[in-house]
Symmetry: C2
Subunit: 425 residues, 2 copies
């Protein structure tokens, strides 16, 4: 087990202690924060070093690998109540509760407005994970890891390459969703968890859940894939390509070797985030929030360089906030992984039905009709293929207004569906 | 009249000679090009220097102003058959026929595939302008100008600032659609054209047509506004803001003073074009053309920097092609102008109906159901407001697959509608 701290984590390695959870209930008041009923409490991100290498789709073996994680709830004596939640492109291990340390990644559209989440360091799925919530921590032991390739404690491009002692940068391997899942599998081995009661996530997180069900059919009881798909559609491939181009074309990217140079591709990263942000929202949501409202007074100021419309100012704010907390090479790595993902190509010789033939988990699919980045069509194709195979599957298409971000924002609609699905276990 | 050639035009000033047109029928074979029946022939872009300044919305007077233009057909003795066609964000004066000099701007989606337009230097609306076409040059004298702020012969940010002798760069005034139209008005004065039989355009071109009808109600007989709107919707404002951010954040932009430095913001411009390109297409069109087809063989190569999917390679090609022919400061200027455009705010105290109250032209609106950048909703709002006022208006929403680019690509569907509308004059 490596004892070298992952770059950027600034925390010592700590072996996992399965069964305790990292939520320290009752310490909320001590932290000076008034928690709502149902909070997972004050939590800390912990770290675990895998004992062996992770074998990747590209053929490389990656070692050492550290995994940042949080847990919520209590592991049952039979270790049969584990729910793995998988984060999306810009998330991290801090999925629920109030972090004693980490800055929140819950800065999606609307989140700040609703509850000042950023200031309280709430987990990115805090509305879904906690006592009495969709993923009820009174019943389930919920595990959340930062993805391989991440920049929030798990080994990624900013971590030191053992061959050089310097950050990997562009020498970090190119990853697939399968690689992310293999890493989670190896991590859970260390926690002594052989089987997942459920694996859940939205967007890229849902892709991981689906990959789990296909790759480890005997080790997954149920899949919850929200606002996700078996393969990103071509326009989504294009948007992700454009976001990556914005980073690659920023001279400060320096071929990926920007660590320690005092310069980072913040300009390109900001543009990437703006593109992402608009694709995560629905057009009507953007119209309702900003319309064509001018930034200052009631007329334009005739400037090319300063925001004239409120939406321009909002996008700049989002970009600046994202650049402060996220690493560009991680963005490139995870964006590439999610565009590669293609269950039919990878597991079915081009046939989605064939790819899913071995699935033994029950599957819950939730899609949002205003989501044009991961539109309901992808979930419908999964639903049809599973039904054709006689597998148990539920599909819910919800008419929320928030677009793709609905999986982060509309807990109220998702909660009863997920609770009922998990209780039927 | 200034005798200084506009930067980048490389051509001497030439006063307009109304009545002759610039199409030289019969010279096509001499140019070694086999023309389809109905071609406007071989044409040359010409240049006219306005005698006085153009007063702009920002309060500035711009002088000198040179206008690049082409004409097709013959001006009638009563000068009552003039149709002004207005180009969109990335167009120029070369709207029809085969240019003896200019590189084609007709590099939109599909255009190259269909007829090798780029190689033949066809005008960007060649399918619509010519003998027997939608804008029938046997009947109409069609005039096309490069917009103020342009980079294809008309005075723009790359032109010399008379105060310094150096290119304006960021000192070029910030423009509105009204400023573009005022310049066209002053240009037509020099041609001796007091009244337009019709003014037509798609996208930003349609905005100009609408502005003409509102600003000069007694001088416009008919308006043809295609794939356009009275005010870009908020998501469109966001996309344009992101495209501009990509340019502004490119260090090679150098605050707009990149002329003569040997560096231009090609990286940012490329990203801007990619964003534009995806918004000009429909998702289904992109899926039909590329799907998730891999660029090489049948598997991925595990690279972050090279294209893996065919659509990535296509976007890079589009970006490289655009950067060669277009100026970044012009992009900024015209992108800003089209996002400012808001008929209700500028002319109606917030009311579209009030803004249109003085219109005397007949109006033809064409929209495309696959166009999500200028969706039919904008045309429907114009249609409803004009009907409420008792003005003559026709609205056609066509079910073409190409998205916003349909106004450039689907001439077959538009032609009978436009011909019939103009003949009813």
């Amino acid at each position: 087990m490596s004892t070298r701290a992952a770059a950027g984590s600034g925390r010592p390695a700590a072996a996992g202690s399965p069964g305790t959870g990292s939520a320290a209930a009752g310490s909320a008041e001590a932290a000076g924060t008034a928690l709502a009923a149902g909070s997972a409490g004050t939590v800390e991100t912990r770290f675990l070093d895998l004992p062996g290498p992770v074998r990747l789709d590209s053929g490389r073996d990656l070692h050492p690998v550290r995994v940042a994680y949080e847990t919520y709830g209590t592991l049952s004596p039979r270790r049969d109540n584990v729910v793995l939640v998988c984060h999306a492109l810009s998330g991290d291990a801090h999925a629920a509760g109030v972090s004693a340390t980490a800055a929140s990644t819950r800065d999606g559209f609307g989140a700040e407005d609703r509850d000042g989440a950023a200031g309280r360091n709430l987990g990115w799925w805090d509305g879904m994970i906690g006592p009495g919530k969709a993923f009820d921590t009174d019943r389930w032991f919920v595990v959340s890891t930062n993805l391989l390739g991440g920049c929030r404690g798990t080994t990624g491009p900013a971590s030191p390459d053992p061959a050089t002692g310097q950050p990997y940068g562009p020498d970090f391997p190119v990853l697939t969703v399968a690689d992310l899942v293999r890493t989670q599998r190896a991590f859970l081995d260390e926690l002594g968890v052989a089987r997942l009661a459920a694996v859940a996530g939205g967007s890229l997180g849902g892709m991981q859940a689906l990959e789990w069900a296909v790759r480890y059919p005997d080790q997954v009881g149920a899949v919850v894939a929200i606002a996700s798909t078996h393969a990103l559609h071509p326009q989504g491939v294009a948007w992700n390509a454009i976001a990556r181009e914005a980073i690659l074309r920023d001279p400060a990217w320096q071929g990926g070797r920007y660590y320690g140079t005092g310069r980072a591709p913040d300009g390109g990263m900001g543009v990437a985030r703006m593109v992402g942000h608009v694709t995560y929202l629905s057009g009507p949501a953007l119209a309702a929030k900003f319309g064509r409202r001018l930034q200052f007074a009631d007329d334009v100021r005739y400037t090319l360089t300063e925001p004239e419309f409120a939406v321009e100012s909002y996008l700049r704010h989002q970009a600046a906030s994202f650049v402060r907390r996220f690493d560009a090479n991680t963005y490139l790595t995870l964006s590439r992984a999610l565009t590669y993902f293609d269950l039919a190509r990878e597991h079915g010789g081009g046939s989605l039905t064939q790819a899913l033939a071995g699935v033994r988990a029950r599957t819950l699919l939730i899609a949002f009709d205003s989501d044009w980045l991961y539109p309901p069509a992808g979930s419908r194709e999964l639903d049809a293929a599973l039904r054709e195979l006689g597998k148990p599957v539920d599909l819910h298409v919800l008419d929320t207004p928030y677009g793709h971000d609905s999986f982060l924002l509309d807990e109220a609609r998702q909660t009863p569906i997920i609770r009922q699905f998990l209780e039927a276990q």
